[in-house]
Subunit: 289 residues, 2 copies
Amino acid sequence: MRNVTIDNITDVVINAMSPDIAPRNRQIMTSLIKHLHGFAREVDLTFPEWLEACEFMRRAGDISDDKRNEFILICDILGLEVLVDMQDHRVTDGESESTVLGPFYRENPPVLPKGASIIQKHFDNSQTVRVSGRVLDTAGRPIEGVTIDVWEDAPNGLYEQQDPDQPDYNLRGRFVTDANGEYAFVGIRPEPYPIPYDGAAGELLNYMGHHPWRPGHIHFMLFKDGYQTLISQIFDADTKYLDKDSVFAVKESLIGQMRPAPAGADTELVMDFDFRLKKAVAKTLIAAE
Amino acid sequence: MRNVTIDNITDVVINAMSPDIAPRNRQIMTSLIKHLHGFAREVDLTFPEWLEACEFMRRAGDISDDKRNEFILICDILGLEVLVDMQDHRVTDGESESTVLGPFYRENPPVLPKGASIIQKHFDNSQTVRVSGRVLDTAGRPIEGVTIDVWEDAPNGLYEQQDPDQPDYNLRGRFVTDANGEYAFVGIRPEPYPIPYDGAAGELLNYMGHHPWRPGHIHFMLFKDGYQTLISQIFDADTKYLDKDSVFAVKESLIGQMRPAPAGADTELVMDFDFRLKKAVAKTLIAAE
C-alpha cells in the first residue's frame, strides 16, 4: 500500500475493507468507490475542483438544520431521490405511484377529523379546495383506518417552517379514512414555488443552468399496518411547470383535476382523488423455541 | 418530463441542463449524474438507505466548521483525495511526488528564520528532530526564495487546532529557502494518529471496517511564483502503519530516515530530505492592443 498508483488505488481502497463487515455494506461501498473513482477519472477532476466540491458540501452542511436537509435537495436536483423512489417502489399490482418525499415533511402534524380544514391563516390570494376520495386496496376494496398526512405550501410559495409569518403546522394535517375508505380535507390550491435556492442547492442549480421551480402540488403520506406506506403528491392539472419540475417528480397518474365547487359548497374548488395501497410483504415470523 | 421512468431519468436530468452553461460544468455534471445513478442502480439502493445517507451527510455537516471539513476526511477514507491528487500532479520530470493535503492545514503560519523551532510547548514524551535539505528544480539547481509551510501533530496525536492544551499554531511554521536552496527547522518526531473518528468519518470507517490510523508524517507545502506548488508529506521510515495508511497517502519516495543527531547537536534526531519542484506551465499573456 506504499505504492499506491492511479491504476491500483480503487482496488486498494476496496480491499482495505474488513472481511467482517455485512455483505450489504461491502456491496454498497464497493460500487460507490468504483463509481466515485470512475467519475473522478472520467472528467480528470483537478485538485482545486475537488477541494471546491468539499467546500460546497460544507456550505450545504452549514445551511442544514433540524428542519432543513440541504443534501436531500441536492439529491433531488440530481434526480437521485426520484430514481431511488422509483426503484424501491416499483408498481406491480395497480397501486398508486409514489413520488419524492421532499425536504419539508414534519412528523406529528395536527390530528383532524374527516373534512376539516388545514388552513390556520387566511390568505387573500388563494382559493380553497376540498380534496376528497377513497383509499382502496389493489383489488378495489376500501381500506378503513388508513392514516393520511398532508402538507402543502402557502400562496407565497413557502411551507410553514420556512415562514415566520405562518402558524406552526399551518397547512398540515393528519386524517384517517372512515369505514368506506373515505378521506376529506379542506386546503388551498397549491402554488408553484422554487425549491430553496439560497444555499448550496441554489449554487448547484446555477452551476447546471437549472431553474428551481416546482409545479403546484399537495404532499401525501399514507400508512397503515399491513400495507406499504405510500409517499406521493397530487399535482394540480392546471399548474405551471408540470413538464419541467426542478426535481423531476411528476407522474401522469398523480395529476389531479380541481373543479369549481357546486353551488352552496364551503370551498371554491373541489378535487377527487383516490389512492390504492399495496399489501406489505409479510415478514417471516421466527417462532420462539 | 411528466413520464419520468427508471430508464429515462438519467437522460432527463442531463438534458435539463441549460445550453448556456460552461462546457466544463456540463462535462462534470453529466459524468457525475451518470455515475451517481449508476451506483444507485447497481446496488438497487433503497429509499431508507438513501435517506440515511442524507442524514449521514447532514451529520458530516454538523461536525464541520472553519477548522474542520468532514467531507475532506470522508473523501480521504474513500481514496478520492489521493486519486485526484495523483491525476492532477502526474510526475513528468523527476519532481517530488505530492500527496494529500489533509484537513489540518491552516493559512498564515508563523514566519520563522531558517533553522528555527516550531515547538511552542515542551512534550516529555517526544524526540526533537532537525529537518533540513534543499529545494531544487528538476535540473538539480537550487531554488532560492521558496516558501515552505510545515505542520505536524503533537505526541498525543492531535494537531493544535484539535487540542485546547496546545498554543495557537503550535508545530506549524513558514520558512524560506536561502541562496543555496536550503531550508531547515526543528520539530518533533511525528506520531501515528487516528484521523478524527468522533464524527461522520468515524461512522464510515466503522461501516467499511477500516481502521483510522495514519503513519507518522510531517506535512509540507512548497510554493514560489513560476513553480508548481507542491503539497506533500515526509513519512518517518520507522513509523507504524506505513503499509496500511487509513487515507492511502504513502509513497515510497516520500519516506524519510530519521537518524540520531551527531554529538553536540541541539536535537536528538536529524533528517535530510530534498524536494524537487517543477516549473509552472507558462500562462499565455494576451497582449493589450
